[in-house]
Symmetry: C2
Subunit: 348 residues, 2 copies
DNA sequence: CCTTAGCACTCCCGAACCCAGAGTGCTACC
DNA sequence: GGTAGCACTCTGGGTTCGGGAGTGCTAAGG
């Protein structure tokens, strides 16, 4: 039976089922639904509709003679159909603005984001600061000699993100040389993206070596040491609210699996960047994570890119149980994503 | 009955009980113990000894006619009595050295520490980089103007720890002034501890204002902005291996409590710094955490200070179930603590 | 005096069992 | 198409019961 035959009555019943299921956690049956229904439909009628919805794949039956439970499909339909209606509650708004006052630094903002999201939703708050070396424009670079053969490199981008890294060099470069190297880079490459600096630098190293010789060799050293590569690796992950996951009667083993996944920072990064579309601004709701990650059964991801102006500096998301308050969480995620841009842009 | 009457037979039985309890998780009875005991004591004899040990407070009985379970006291006695004997296993040693090769930066080292510890033990690996502004000696400080009224401050200490922070200023300080300010501080205070720089700077600001006027006002601004205060707050916490906690048949609510505690970074910091004695090098084993933190029932902390030379730069610890492999974990913690000093010192 | 054997007693835990409640599908009727 | 009724099914909670493991005590033996 095709999905097309979903009329307004069917839709109403579907949302009613999903909402009571989210509220109670029990499979919901026709009788229960018949009560508390304004249109006073009889259980039998509802049963018919439910049978249709089940055929359409929107509902599932744990076993014969149990109530119905929404399927991933059902959730998707539900979410689609409610998107955009709700407003963020005043309480949430207060909580959020309180948590973010006085922050001007994307790193810090993202760190708190994970915390705030975990508070607002009944899920895990996740935020990553993006690896987007492609987009970030250089503001400054510093080098400082720490010890023999060890150099501290600090890269600052236009959007205010700071990354530091200790490099180990083959030879010892004196502080004076480091400073000229930094000056050279700052003078020639300010405003360039990290990515283009790297290619251009590689080109110049080939070409101009004869000219500046000394300067160029130290720059080459630093370059090889990875001064500018760091953006690729150092994307930080902020996770908070894991305790929220201990709700359902999951068997222990699955819970462990899940936590383990959450601890593997790399997989979170993959998860977010594969699902959160950085090209468009909207909040993305992913239902049915288990299709790709079996450990993530019964979990949903609600995420959005974090951007400052045109630059995407990371992603933020909530990972929570399928039985979650979608409206609430979606509006919160969207609100924070917007706030992110607003706060960080006006302070630049 | 006083503890003093613990003879060698009693001790042997106690360790046997604790070890089988750690292995099985079941309360251990006299019969079970009588098997697998080389001295071939009869169950009855063992029962007598067990009764004594219970009177001494080293064992507990979940209920009449159940086996015995070690009490916190019992664990303490056990741990005391085994300290120092075991050697770290080759496998662990390999794992550890593999994980730490090529690291020269305390931050990074601590971050991996939490990971490695969670792998080795069946517990949560925790590491904090210490707030010890008192001990760290200044190597360099940088300031850079990011935007109007926003300044990036980077402080590097002798031990190679780098901290950055975005300061917000009342007035806009041009880059040139920032550089002279940094030069002033670097010239006058290199090698000082952060703490003493702060007091001295405050003194000079009072006294010498008339002289350098312009320079001093910008320094004052930076000072007030918190350029040097950051050490107090920015102690980072690395936690890993939470999934390991899902072992026992804890009721859900307690587990959540525990995870919540682990998420509150501040409390971990308090926990570690109150228990891990930074003054002495040894590994500290704390049994009975629940006495202060009820959520931490059935958990043990095994921690040690992380130091580079004389300077304490943080702490590392394992938080795990009381039923854990003590020898194994203690040796691992101790080994990593020593490695920490060794690796970072030789590379300075 | 310490150790051992025997014995009666206690308590937990899992298996079997049963029953009420909630739900379903189907058929017949309006 | 909507509704009412009915026979059937499945789950989940409560109860009962017996085996197993363990204890404490007493009495006998080295």
């Amino acid at each position: 039976m095709p999905i097309s035959n979903i009329g307004s009555r069917e839709r109403e019943i579907l949302t009613a089922i999903i909402e009571t299921y989210i509220a109670t956690g029990e499979p919901v049956g026709s009788r229960t639904l018949a009560r508390g229904n304004k249109d006073r439909l009889s259980p039998a009628t509802i049963r018919n509709v439910m049978a249709d919805l089940a055929d359409a794949g929107l509902l599932e039956q744990p076993h014969t003679s149990a109530g119905r439970v929404p399927s991933p499909q059902g959730y998707r339909y539900y979410v689609e159909q409610l998107t955009g209606k709700a407003q963020i509650s005043q309480a949430d708004q207060d909580l959020i603005t309180n948590s973010f006052t006085g922050i001007g630094d994307p790193q810090e903002f993202l760190e708190r984001t994970s915390h705030v999201l975990s508070l607002i939703s009944r899920g895990v708050g996740v935020a990553i600061s993006s690896r987007s070396g492609e987009k970030n424009e250089l503001e400054h670079v510093y080098f400082s000699r720490l010890a023999s053969g060890k150099v501290l490199a600090v890269v600052v981008t236009k959007s205010g993100v700071v990354r530091d890294r200790v490099l180990r060099m083959d030879r010892d470069i004196p502080q004076a040389e480091l400073e000229s190297a930094a000056n050279y880079i700052n003078a020639n490459f300010q405003g360039w993206t990290i990515e283009s600096i790297r290619t251009e630098l590689a080109r110049r190293l080939e070409q101009e070596r004869s000219e500046y010789d000394r300067l160029m060799t130290s720059i080459e050293q630093l370059y090889r040491g990875g001064a500018l590569h760091q953006q690729d690796e150092q994307n930080t992950v902020y996770v908070e609210g894991v305790s929220n996951l201990i709700v359902s009667e999951e068997d222990r083993e699955r819970l462990r699996e899940m936590l383990r996944v959450l601890e593997e920072k790399q997989r979170i990064i993959e998860l977010l960047s594969s699902y959160v579309d950085t090209k468009q601004e909207a909040v993305r709701v992913v239902i049915g994570l288990e299709e790709r990650l079996p450990e993530m059964r019964n979990l949903v991801l609600i995420g959005a890119p974090a951007r400052v102006g045109e630059q995407v500096v990371g992603s933020l998301a909530v990972i929570g149980p399928t039985r979650m308050d979608y409206e609430h969480t979606i509006t919160a995620v969207s609100y924070i994503a917007q706030l992110f841009d607003k706060v960080l842009n006006e302070n630049q």
